[in-house]
Symmetry: C2
Subunit: 120 residues, 2 copies
Amino acid sequence: MKISPAEAVVMEVLWRASPRTAEEVFAEVGGPQRWTEATVKTLINRLLKKKAVAAERDGRRYLYRPVLERAAYIRGESQSLLDRLFDGRLAPLVSHLSQSRALSPEDMAELKRLIEEMDE
Amino acid sequence: MKISPAEAVVMEVLWRASPRTAEEVFAEVGGPQRWTEATVKTLINRLLKKKAVAAERDGRRYLYRPVLERAAYIRGESQSLLDRLFDGRLAPLVSHLSQSRALSPEDMAELKRLIEEMDE
DNA sequence: CACCAACGTTTACTCATGTAATCGATACAT
DNA sequence: ATGTATCGATTACATGAGTAAACGTTGGTG
């Protein structure tokens, strides 16, 4: 099941560290996002329904942990962008981004390194 | 204004060739998408409201052309993916994709070429 | 000139999403 | 033991998106 951008923000928190209580998730995300705790709970609930997170009872509360892995999520998103806009090919994406925004020297260096090691 | 995935499909048609009538857009996209002509018209109208396409009267019908440029759209989408998932950096994206799916030799070759020429 | 076909415009309806308040159960403090 | 604070669950509501039918207008045809 597809997870929405707002839900992904919650996932990011859980991917950084889990398990977490709803309150902890809220503590980490409420500020930047200006969400109330109710909103965070709704999002967690939707993620439960979508089986993207699992809950484990811990006394009076629950501890939540990701079920969907970050790598899988990222892969899906990247893939779909690539397919929708670049005919599934990586080179045009890189080409486009390298033109439209300056790459930092570190990025350049890392890219180079990547290409080399992929070459083996 | 943000354009939706379905709307983007219509934009793609217009980016390939324009101006086009609604019927022509439908002809090109209706099949693969299993949309009726009514649906295509709704999408065109929403794109008009969003100023992503412009219409020019041609007798009893209109000819539509893109106002939003493909490059700008692609840039926005790629940028937002990069920011959301890869902290705005290109290298991690490439790294991820190169692991999760095999790059074709041509893709590899082109990437290499890109990196080299960006290096100047 | 009356009618019909072809357009674009308006309206419709369902589902997902963002955002949040309310409800109901329950553990703890007094 | 009872009230209260605290959880999660349920309900709410507006907006956008996907999908499409109905409507109104206008130009062409018989």
